[in-house]
Symmetry: C2
Subunit: 473 residues, 2 copies
Amino acid sequence: MALENKKNENFGEWYLELVQKAQLMEYSPIQGCMIIRPRAYFVWQQIQDFLNNKFAEEGVQNAYFPMFIPESMLKKEASHFAGFTPEVAWVTKGGNEDLSEPLALRPTSETIIYSTYAKWVSSHRDLPLLLNQWANIIRWDTKTLKPFLRTREFLWQEGHTAHASREDAEAMVAKALNWYREVCQDLLAMPVMAGVKSRSETFPGAEYTTTVEALMPDGKALQCGTSHNLGQSFSKMFDVKYKTNDEKQEYCWMTSWGVSTRLIGAAIMLHSDDKGLVLPPKIAQVQVVIVPIFKDLEEKKMALLSANKIVLQLREKGVRVHVDDREDKSPGFKFNEWELYGVPVRIEIGLRDLAKQGVTIARRDGIDKDFVSEEKVIDFVLNAMQDIQTNLFSRAKLFLDSSIIFADQYKDLKIGLEHKKLVQAYCCDEAAEEIIKQDTQATSRLIELTKEEGKCVITGKPTKSMHYFAKSY
Amino acid sequence: MALENKKNENFGEWYLELVQKAQLMEYSPIQGCMIIRPRAYFVWQQIQDFLNNKFAEEGVQNAYFPMFIPESMLKKEASHFAGFTPEVAWVTKGGNEDLSEPLALRPTSETIIYSTYAKWVSSHRDLPLLLNQWANIIRWDTKTLKPFLRTREFLWQEGHTAHASREDAEAMVAKALNWYREVCQDLLAMPVMAGVKSRSETFPGAEYTTTVEALMPDGKALQCGTSHNLGQSFSKMFDVKYKTNDEKQEYCWMTSWGVSTRLIGAAIMLHSDDKGLVLPPKIAQVQVVIVPIFKDLEEKKMALLSANKIVLQLREKGVRVHVDDREDKSPGFKFNEWELYGVPVRIEIGLRDLAKQGVTIARRDGIDKDFVSEEKVIDFVLNAMQDIQTNLFSRAKLFLDSSIIFADQYKDLKIGLEHKKLVQAYCCDEAAEEIIKQDTQATSRLIELTKEEGKCVITGKPTKSMHYFAKSY
């Protein structure tokens, strides 16, 4: 039942084996598209709930815009769209007839949404306009499919806001990025670094792009969410104007921000091990599995009696419990299966446990089994779940922190990358970044602005831009 | 602020004016596609929550399948797909290259889902397989756009299940239909009739289709949800087989069922009036609006003090409250606006109310204003919300019941339809149905099987099939 590939030995194959055997995804007949199975889709629903709550607190409302974008509309803002053109899928036929104008399937929705905002915004009283949509996105990527991380269709949310001032837009960009940091860290137990993207990695049309990035066990960075300050470029393209308090016409300041189903892949890749999936309890569809151990029906009945008592109490506390009372599988088979599926806590109830008026509890994050007496089971499980959530985060945080090294020489940067580190280095401009990229395949993941100047590892010029370099997904 | 069109005078125009002015939808630049605005999308989210809870109780899990379906897969089951071919939109280009095979955008997902089920099902232990997906659907309809009711892209859920026996599949079909009855009646306050579709109205490839139908104020029926027993036709087409307990290979018994965002349109059309939107409290984004009435800032402060106390208490009870403290709008303007937006309960707080230590409360379903003393406000509001929910349902039920007439002669059927009734009549077969359709544009909405035989209104032949005829959306 365990995986054939090892996380430390052949990481790429291990991941592909994991996502299939743990029933997280299935390949589809369409090249580059995958099926998200319930165990993984459940994670997405938790992400949706988490963010919808944040949105509601801040007055961001959900809406839905068409997935089609007319070609003419795209041409209107060619500078933005040029970045997407090679990846656009086109609908050219409806029913038996050719369309008079090809329709793009949204690779992102700035154009369709902002052309509508122009109708809705006329006064400062209409601002801020804060909308989000949960939608499927199509990018006809020619690279190889990587389940969850790179697929031609994926699910995401995209927030699109219009504001009366640059400051309001900047505050919104920061707020969204903070939600993304929270969803990664507090829900998915995945530590991230937050910062600004370099010019060459900035969203087409944006003034600047902020990002949260996680580090995967193979030393590659993974962009988990981005939040863009679009300034007034889109409002000028689409004529999104408002009348100020003193009757002047001004262009709106806009932002957009999104996270996608790739977050599922990131969390899976980060936490799982050679036995299979490891899930932080908050995103596990089944948080606790109870395995009654029996040799005959009489024993089964006794074990189930005890199991059902625990189930009722745990459900009352909001815990998602499953009892695996199959008769045609051995306890050992069941243990392995639920470990493969990433269930955080396993409760075993056998005759020996019953005799001692307790149960045996095993944690998926690898700490030994415990015998727990009946009256302490519920507290023990609740604590274990909290502890697993924290433990997975701490473990990943330790890995991230220990992976960051500073390089003040270009050769150290290269050595760092060879050792799969996330390398901090001063870098003065796009040209220098490009040299590093060509040479090492690593890109600047984010920039930290420092108070003191440092020397660019390529040009030696003084700069305050400290970049984090890594290869990336 | 009130609508220019009257519901009783020019229903079609009234509906179009309503959905725009109440900010439920916006036209998009793409012909046949619309934008769902937050006030309407919120209704969809309530429908999602309602059904997701039912699904979870029954073990139906959410998943996500690609929106693309290869042409070759469609050809494989031509009998089913023939019904959709004229409405399929085709992707023929990805990036700058022509695709080797055109991809259909899903008009429904039986084919892609069942070809996958064939991989997942091998033993009776894999059954039942109960999945649902929330997705966007594309049908390149050539008829005119009708907001929510007929659009080329819409949102829906589609349940797809595989079972080990005909009985299990039949039970699932009935269960899903019952969920749809509940979502219509208990959430949307919209009474429906449930029954079986006639042969000519059956889903392509299904053994039979069950339906819930609502009656709109203009006498047209609206199909609100359908649940199909697919028998073994799809399992044979896609080779979805399982091994029985005694090692025999059998084809699965399958079902599919769905409701869409047209439900939003149905509820809106049914309940609203000449002042604008009327929403059952359960689906209203704002359930209670508080309008402080003031002439100066001192009065405003006093009214807000009282308002905020009520807000806190209502929020504690889970009520969605908004305080409209704008200074540049008159109370009258605000009353009209919130009536247009369908807020079920309005609380007015003026000096006169404060002096008497109470507030004035108005209900959107048209019953007079009440003065309510401070200590009774919360109970009054909670009761009012329940009462409005019930009242809207009862009102609609009365309309539905009084709209049903029985015709034992064809001329009575025609007179009934002219008077916008839902006409019960015996009808013996498809040919007879077709005559009625050609003659009156009315279709059989559903069939009730009666114990006693009656005479077909067209042929005079005895039959137990009592149909309900109406024009439809």
